[in-house]
Amino acid sequence: MDRLFNNIWFKCITVLLLIAAVSGGILAIFNDVFYVSAEERTQRAIKKIYGEEKEYSVLLDSEAGDTPFLDEKNYGRIDKIYTIDQPDTGEYDMLFNSTGFGGYKNGTITVWVQVRFPADGNITDGEIIKVILESYEKQTLMSKFGESFFSGFYLEDVTERYFAGEHFTSDKNDTSNMTNPVSGATYSANAGCNAVNCVLEYLKTAVGGEE
């Protein structure tokens, strides 16, 4: 027995196991104390948009096992959709967590898009109220994106124009569409436009705009 306790490899393994066990215990406590629930994460996103926490209903949540929406035109992917009622006016908002494809080096841009619908629920009267950058991949010129880029999506007749065949584009020479270019970051602007196009495509196809 003494030989075993004096064996260097026994000591090595015991020390490593002890450190791992103590670390595991400490981390388990920390995980419990500092756990961030899915609800808290969603409220963080809502706070970014509204400046305060709001009650919401989940329409789609890929993290909860729902299938994300992928549009046929390959603009992007929608992972989360929440609806928030506006009790004062009778209007309601839809919040989309949309990832636009086709950025620099095939990277993506993920934004939160807030679309407000009138009390009568007419989809074609939906209006983009806010677009907020959530995250991006491989985009090196994101510093070029100012408030002017995001406010470029706030068009009153945006759904009508989209349903009529227009879409957001970063090509400043394309006057037949809704242009929103960012000088010096064309590919990133393309991904940003695609993220919003994906939301409009969702409204057109999934909600029933096309019918």
Partner: protein, 234 residues
Amino acid sequence: MKTNYKKIAADGVIKSNPTLKLVLGTCPTLALTTMAMNGIGMGAAVTFVLICSNVLVSLLRKVIPSQVRIPAFVLIIATFVTMTRLILDKLLPDLYESLGLYLPLIVVNCIILARAESFASKNGVLASAADGLFMGIGFTLALTVMGAFREILGSGAVFGVKLWDFQIAFFSSSAGAFFTYGIFIALFAFCESLISKKRKIKAYAELCAEKQKSDAQNIDSVAVVSESSSKEDK
């Protein structure tokens, strides 16, 4: 032996600055210096992990067999990095998001492993904590200054406050990060050589003054001796 905290501080911040002198932790330095605030956030996270891991490694230095010291250090560092991630995610979610992938990568940061191996495993707890603190401060300062430089030139802002519309997008890119890093290493080396040159000149001047003084004393003593011998001759 008495611990020289002044030396530990000078080593951590200037003489062995982990970023600009030892060129350690290059990955977060290049990736996160697009903004000054990122530099402070990353620096604070690394400082916390450095202090905690140094203290624990120093405490356990006589218990951990040398054959498994590296896996043991990595285990300890990984524990503190995970703790930092959990705390930041809960309390500072914006900073947590902006640091992204580079926060868990602190585990393999050379600065932390190097300090555990070369300092904490050979020194006492307080000295190791001081080493972690000052190495962390050195890292934070380097990252913040580089971040401010790149933010001002690349985005026309500093700490998120817009200064002007003039921007050089190159400084926000990866190539700009390497370029900035090169400039700062060169500047640091230049300043260091300038200071050491000045010190050498000062030391040489002092040596010369001392020699002159001793020469003068020698001449005086020779004069006294010759004077007394001439008196004896008379």
